[in-house]
Amino acid sequence: MGDLSNGRGGSSVHVIQPGDSGFATTRVDALLNWAKKYSLFQYPYVTACCAMEFMAMASPRFDMARFGAEAPRFSPRQADLLWVVGTISQRQAPALKRIYEQMADPKWVLAFGTCASCGGFYDNYTTLAGIDKVIPCDVYVPGCPPRPEAVIDGLLLLQDKIARGDRTPGIVKPRTDPLVMGPDGIELVQIGKKPVLDGGSEA
């Protein structure tokens, strides 16, 4: 139908034609992606030792809630992010697949830990060597168990991917934040900022 504009000037509304990837669509997509990434309802499919770091991440110190991903929904129908935390055995694999299939689109999968990513050091008769053998996975967070900071890296990576609409799987790389020798010893440098003294281990 073309452009609608109100006679007094100001912004015009562009009505979207079929096959038209115009300004409004991109903005709407961006808005939807923004909403999706900051309100991930997680399904914590928790099995093993990585559960300890998962609990630590949900705890006040590392606080997953500040990224919008706190609310666990223990029904796959209500969740959109499947956190596979811990080793998946061959016996558990059908249950995992079932849960993944029961989730509604859009859905993402985060493999938390080495056992979920590739089976870990349990290369034996009973372990599934990585969940991507049965379900597609979006982010792999290696570590045995990964530090909560690494998992938050993975969550932020996933949020970036959601914002870009990118479905290629990504792996969280180990990260060393730059350290400099200051007058009082080692100082942690926050990227983009001047060197600040590490204030200690209290939260």
């Binding site: 694999a93 059908p94 009973t126 597609p136 799987p169 990504g170 792996i171 969280v172």
Partner: protein, 197 residues
């Protein structure tokens, strides 16, 4: 102190006790398979022994470790008495070299706790317990064939329940440029850190 456990056993059962030892301080008695349950009842009911705590039951596969005619498997049971605080290990040698008929009496009528331990030994070692109320797999799934803890079962032989997906991602290093954290990628060249390229 616990020596008397072995002495009492030998007094009562004589020929059914094939061997005893106390290596590393653990009293052990090797029992003939036919008297397995009788020995267990004696250990539980005799007032001087009073083994009322069932501690452990497992199987060991001695494939090719012993002579040709020796039984291949061993069932090992650990017991303890709450009152006297003494322990004993009773073992029995069973089974043929192929591992086809490996059977022994169940101890569930003596101690309720033997239930799951015997199921686990049945599951992982393939030892059948006669008289067990509900002998089925416990740690592995029912569709699994074979006894994984036997020495002739290869450790990495999997029996998947569902078929794997096609074309799973090849996760070999080096990772693509698109992977990893955005800010980490910009300020850190991991390869330079390690001196590669």
């Amino acid at each position: 102190m616990s020596k008397k456990v072995l002495d009492l056993l030998q007094e009562k059962f004589g020929a059914a006790i094939l061997a005893t030892h106390a290596q590393f301080g653990d009293d052990t008695a090797v029992i003939e398979p036919g008297s397995w349950r009788a020995v267990a009842l004696f250990l539980r009911d005799d007032p001087r022994l009073g083994m009322n705590m069932f501690t452990d039951l497992c199987g060991v596969d001695y494939l090719n470790q012993r002579g040709e005619d020796e039984p291949r498997f061993e069932v090992v049971c650990h017991l303890r008495s709450l009152q006297y605080a003494h322990r004993i290990r009773i073992k029995s040698r069973i089974g043929d070299a192929e591992g086809e008929t490996v059977e022994i009496d169940s101890l569930v009528p003596v101690w309720k706790g033997a239930d799951w331990f015997e199921r686990e030994t049945f599951d992982l070692m393939g030892i059948t317990f006669k008289g067990h109320p509900d002998l089925r797999r416990i740690l592995m799934y029912p569709e699994f064939k074979g006894a994984p803890l036997r020495k002739d079962y290869p450790a990495s032989k999997t029996q998947p329940l569902i078929p794997y997906r096609e074309g799973t991602l090849d996760k070999l290093f080096p990772f693509g440029p698109d992977e990893g954290m955005a800010f980490g990628r910009q300020t850190h060249d991991y390869r330079n850190d390690r001196g590669e390229s």
